[in-house]
Amino acid sequence: MAEPGLMEDLYREIILDHYRQPRNHGTTIEPTCSADGANPLCGDQVRIDVALVDGVVEAISFSGQGCSISQASASMMTEYVKGRDAAAALRGVEAFQQMMLTGEAPDIEGFDDIAALAGVAKFPARVKCASLAWKTLAQAIAEGGGSVTTDDGSR
């Protein structure tokens, strides 16, 4: 691209890789809990299915449509939570939201790839895209199901 700085802040190679080859996308699992997320302003939608066995995420799958940032973020999220327990998963959600506010990658195990999304914080219009899958995951695990939106009345 013509402007390496700006574009690369957002579209790191690893992000494009997850976008082109999403992990755990549309796979068939036997979920114990699921949630739907929507970003009505963009039309992004995601569904997260989770198989929690003895408090541990045994399997996870996502489906839906969205931009590269939302799809890559969902893909990375599934990789991060798989095999972790519910508490660790929710700590991940917390760390991710924090990263979207500060633009700083958190020092937390398993966030190596995910840290590539830290640059999104500079693009306020895209923060909601990146957060969608994480918010939806929290809904599925903490509430056992339901639906969320990323809209909070802000512009």
Binding site: C42, Q65, I69
Partner: protein, 424 residues
């Protein structure tokens, strides 16, 4: 109140695109990447020429006061300027009387005013309001709220796959129970120009009133309420070179006079006692509280600017750009354009998809090239549902856009394709 006869004539200028562009200094701006701005988000809001900005400053530096014909010099001057702006707008759309022009905040408020002041007064449960599937949310939600509150029936003229309205269906949807047909003159999501004539004729035949949402037509083509034959026209200053914060509702005078006020407060009353109040005459009745005097005056300057160009010339320029863009974008691999294929039946709005790339990503990458387009549902979710897409990318043109800028969009899109390099 300034009468139409008192207004100075506006001298017509040749359509000189280089001169026009010089009037918009923002067009020389660069974005963070260092690329020069290519502003193609005009359906969302236009840019403002220096003449309009100068008018705002002049008003506040030289004449600023509250109006209502105070006796002091500034107040008299401010009142005159405000009423002159009203007369300029009346002349611009061919209204017979400046009192038919109500100043609001935007198109949205204009439509809500009709829903409150007219529909809540005159409609009964079971009465029908007819809108269409291609309306902006501003011409949907107020009627849904009215429906839920008052039990009226809300009906939609469906959209055909090419983004035009199903006129055959319209004939049977508009019935003897229809009291109001409220329609956009041009879709902001697809650019479709709605052939109002046929629908107006049908509405008149059944005795229904017609409201035209002119948010996308008044800024871009000649609009004359005498030939339209409708009852209300709503539009926004910010889409036609004027500042944010000033909108217009035009209505036929006897109709406006028959309506209830919308908001209560200062300036819209004749008398107030603790027991009861009586209303001022039109237009004051609908302009409660201190109006947006400064931006109304600046709207007058915007209308002068457009009149000097001539709205026929504006439309001709935009048709030419749109025609060029339709052909140029069709050549970009992976691009598909929504809506009617010819520039004759659409305004300067092109919604499109790029294979394998989400609109958000298109917009983001184009932004680094300086090209500003809008992505999303364009406040027309029913259109998105009908097209079965979550969102579109939309480029929209105005008086200052050039074919070079269309080329910048097209080559930007080619880079977007290369960058994402996906063919799902």
């Amino acid at each position: 109140m300034t009468s139409l006869a008192d207004l100075p004539a506006v001298e017509r200028l040749p359509y000189d695109i280089a001169r026009i562009r010089r009037d918009f200094p923002i067009l020389k701006r660069e974005v963070a990447s260092g690329a020069r701005l290519v502003y193609l988000d005009n359906a969302a809001t236009s840019q403002r020429p220096v003449q309009v900005l100068a008018e705002i400053t002049r008003f506040y530096r030289d004449h600023n006061a509250n109006i209502h014909r105070g006796v002091h010099t500034l107040s008299v001057e401010a009142t005159d300027l405000y009423e002159q702006a009203r007369a300029k707008v009346a002349r611009f759309i061919g209204a017979a009387d400046p009192r038919e022009i109500i100043f609001t905040r935007n198109t949205t408020e204009s439509i809500n005013l009709v829903a409150h002041g007219w529909a809540r007064k005159f409609l009964q449960p079971g009465d029908e309001v007819v809108i269409s599937e291609i309306e902006h949310h501003s011409n949907i939600v107020p009627w849904q709220m009215l429906r839920d509150e008052r039990g009226i029936t809300l009906k939609y003229i469906p959209m055909l796959p090419d983004g035009t309205l199903d006129l055959d269906a319209a004939r049977s949807i508009i019935t003897g129970r229809t009291r109001l047909v409220s329609l956009t003159a041009m879709s902001n999501a697809l650019g479709t120009i709605v052939p109002l004539d046929a629908i107006v004729a049908r509405a008149k035949a059944v005795g229904a009133l017609v409201l035209v949402d002119g948010a996308q037509s008044v800024p871009h083509m000649p609009v004359d309420v005498r030939t339209l034959g409708v009852d209300f026209l709503a539009f926004s200053g910010h889409k036609m070179l004027a500042p944010f914060g000033i909108g217009i509702l035009w209505g036929r005078l006897p109709l406006l006079e028959s309506m209830d006020p919308f908001m209560g407060g200062g300036d819209m009353i004749l008398t107030v006692s603790m027991e009861r109040s009586t209303w001022a005459d039109v237009p004051a009745k609908f302009e409660a509280g201190t109006p947006n005097v400064g931006d109304a005056v600046a709207l007058g300057a915007a209308v002068d600017y457009l009149s000097a160009l001539g709205m026929d010339a504006v439309r001709q320029h935009e048709r030419a750009i749109t025609d060029y863009a339709l052909r140029r974008l069709a050549d970009v691999p992976g691009v598909s354009i929504f809506g009617v294929p010819d520039a004759e039946r659409r305004g300067g709005v092109i919604s499109f998809a790029l294979e394998g790339v989400h609109p958000h990503d298109i917009g983001q990458v184009l932004d680094t090239k300086g090209v500003a387009i809008r992505t999303g549902h364009h406040c027309a979710q029913p259109v998105m549902l009908a097209l079965n897409v979550p969102a579109t990318a939309r480029a929209s043109f105005y008086i200052y856009n050039t074919t070079d800028e269309v080329d910048a969009l097209a080559s930007g899109l080619e880079e977007v394709s290369r960058f994402f390099g996906v063919r799902k």
